[in-house]
Symmetry: C2
Subunit: 145 residues, 2 copies
């Protein structure tokens, strides 16, 4: 497999995992009853999860665009610089704030499972970008005179 094909496959995987992260996070919703008071658990009540969804959406959209751009040799410098920015955006979005939700996980286990799933998909997307960047750097080093 050529380096260009590996990069295309990695970008496709990034599109898939960011889309999965968004879908799982956005559909997470559960209502629980505690002491006769019913309460709603929803991702949008926590700013950190809203940030997660926005970051995954930007990264997913960019990954799609970069699929097209990376075919054109004119754009490879721009794509590689943007890859760095997106990689850092992705890693800033997968946070440990899930820990902050643990006290309510006894009441809303399905909701917590979905959060964990979304965060894992986000983590996979960030890992894909790390591999993508290291691969690009390696091929760039090989070009060096």
């Amino acid at each position: 497999m050529t380096k260009a094909k590996i990069s295309l496959v990695l970008r496709l995987l990034a599109v898939g995992s960011t889309a999965a992260a968004i879908a799982v996070m956005v559909t997470s919703h559960e209502t629980a009853k505690v002491l006769n008071l019913s309460f709603d658990a929803k991702y949008s009540y926590t700013s950190a999860f809203v940030y997660f969804v926005i970051a995954e959406a930007i990264a997913g959209g960019y990954s799609l665009v970069s699929l097209l751009l990376s075919c054109k040799p004119v754009f490879w410098r721009l794509v590689m610089m943007m890859d760095v920015v997106i990689a850092m955006l992705l890693s800033s979005s997968i946070q440990l704030h899930h820990a902050g939700w643990l006290p309510i996980c006894g009441q809303v286990p399905k909701f917590c499972d979905q959060l964990t799933g979304a965060l894992i998909a986000g983590f996979v997307a960030a890992a894909i970008y790390l591999v993508l960047l290291l691969c690009s750097l390696r091929s760039l080093f090989a070009l060096k005179p």
Copy 2:
């Protein structure tokens, strides 16, 4: 100023800001009284803040080592690849989990101010690594035949 000097200055700044982030986070501590019950607020009670301190310590230590390594041309490939890893580690550590602490900030304002300060210093360190990476890429692009 040559590119090598800019890189050295950026790495020195990264050492400074990670050290500041660790110092401010580790010394944050406050005791508050709520309804005659006194409670302790400490960074080490939250796993996300412990992760922050560990990530900043790794990044700070690496920045120091890279100051020496980046002078030796043999290591520049290794340094650039490690820069990518450290940049992603740093951006994963500056999290929005501060939001999770807001409810107690009325009781422990000094503690919360210190947390915010530490997170800002961590953010600065991540921004420095972003600039460092984009600069390295630019000079690498210039070398390309």
